[in-house]
Symmetry: C2
């Protein structure tokens, strides 16, 4: 079975959206942008053994590959539109590709995005996704956090890192679903990102770990932050995982990575409104601190106990 | 040196075009599309040992990675605008990345396109590129070839395949530059593709090999073709390479692949105009046959002598 057969069997589908003039199967896709919208584009690569474990369920992998890119669109306050997929596979495994395609499609559909093109080549398992979204007014960037802004997360962090740590000693079946889902079934906070436009000053998704991504915002904005170490408290599953693996839950929550919650800097005058909207969306937002003039990170009270050199996910 | 250092050193540059609202360094790029243009998107992956040889000059590789994607935009009759790059590297080799980035940027600039985002991860050497272009009126697809159309190439094929064959027995220095350039420094036929809009019915770039890509056009259009085997004649370098390696030049020209010329199906009434424009652009177009009602490929006179099972580049 060759590239074209795999694509025809598992990826070619009639276009769902009127915006897709030419979909999968030509030299390039042809898309109709929304008039006067800006285009939001993000590319991410997932490499076996580095961004996902060998033997992971292909459907979960397809889901995650789409979602981590859609999360970048969400972090700009954009609405997802289209995806391309560059799949490099060691062999043409029809069953594996079927599962991967189903997971990818499910994630895309849940965010109103559509796969419009890509390629399949033979090589070490690598997944490259480009997500295209649109934004009808100014996008949320990393560089616009201002003095006094409240730093708010769309939800709890640390679950993905806890699941990854547990996988070193136990099988998937023995991992609490609440944690395994955080690792394998992330959900891009698209509605939350869109709601933040016009209210928040800056946003980022905390895929590299909360503190590392917060530093990206602070550096780009030329400000600092004062954080409340008690803002993040482990739930029962997370605490049990920490105890079981001899780990520190605070490490996972503040620096674990792979979380795909959004972190925004929102002025105090708009914070209450945004929190209300996010709660109505079913989220459980968490205020973690404030933007300060002094550069760098400071802790209100004691810093959480964690590995002092931890600075988030290193791609290298 | 980490991902962010490599990106900052070699890829982050002030945006060249007004269309880039947010460039490299945020969760996603934010771009301003041309009003009423359609968006043309293509993704391709290059894997070491499969799409390029190990140890190839990184600058040539960067050039080619950009060009093979820009060629897909050209094949739709679009004008290139933006590129994203997903670079997976076995190690953070600063010198290698500098060369790659220079070649990539040179290719992009030569087509008026700009790198706007991407990522660098550690893993087996793999290059994923997404090219974004625009088209102000109907794009050229594969599926619109019509009975009687003339099949015309923008230029000679086979050089890349000849260079690849020579590399099995001789060093780069011993390969005629005319052939090595076809392999390592392809040029996307952007102006030729744009000129073909409104004149030609269908277009494709012959990256998979001329006959294989012609079949893609014929299958998508529901027609056949009658080809003139004498249309393609090897030049001195190509013939010498065939003699030296005991190969058949016709095999390289009709089925070699990696050529990045455009093949168009143009109605006879417009063929002369298109050929004139292409010659003014410095191209040496070649008429290879006609579109017929009968499906499949037929030869006017003797078929060229070549491997009968050859059907173009197989990605798997």
């Amino acid at each position: 079975m060759g590239e074209f057969d795999l694509i025809a069997r598992h990826f070619s589908r009639p276009a769902q959206s009127d915006s897709v003039e030419v979909g999968i199967g030509d030299d390039a896709a042809v898309l109709r942008p929304t008039p006067s919208a800006s285009l939001v584009v993000s590319t991410d690569t997932l490499v076996e053994g580095r961004h996902f474990r060998s033997g992971v369920d292909p459907e979960a992998l397809g889901w995650k590959a789409a979602m981590v890119n859609l999360s970048d669109i969400a972090a700009m306050g954009g609405f997802p539109r289209w995806l391309t997929l560059a799949l490099t596979l060691p062999e043409a495994d029809d069953h594996w590709v079927a599962g991967f395609a189903a997971g990818f499609r499910a994630a895309a559909t849940s965010c109103q995005a559509e796969l419009v093109g890509g390629d399949i080549t033979r090589g070490p398992l690598t997944i490259g996704v480009t997500a295209l979204g649109e934004c009808l007014d100014a996008p949320l960037t990393r560089s616009a956090a201002r003095l006094g802004d409240v730093l708010v997360l769309t939800g709890a962090t640390g679950g993905a890192a806890a699941a990854l740590a547990l996988l070193e000693s136990v099988t998937e079946e023995d991992i609490p679903p609440s944690l395994l889902h955080r690792l394998d079934r992330p959900v891009a906070r698209v509605a939350a990102g869109r709601a933040a436009r016009g209210l928040a000053h800056a946003a980022i998704d905390v895929s590299d770990g909360l503190l590392a991504d917060l530093r990206h915002v602070l550096d780009a904005s030329g400000v600092g932050a004062r954080l409340n170490a008690n803002a993040l408290t482990p739930d029962t599953d997370l605490q049990a995982a920490a105890t079981r693996t001899g780990s520190v839950a605070a490490q996972w929550m503040w620096a674990g990575g792979d979380d795909y919650e959004l972190l925004v800097a929102v002025p105090p005058t708009h914070a209450r409104t945004l929190l209300e909207i996010w709660r109505e969306q079913g989220l459980q937002p968490i205020e973690i601190g404030r933007v300060t003039e002094a550069s760098g990170l400071h802790w209100a009270g004691d810093a959480p106990t964690m590995d002092p050199v931890s600075s988030g996910y290193q791609h290298f």
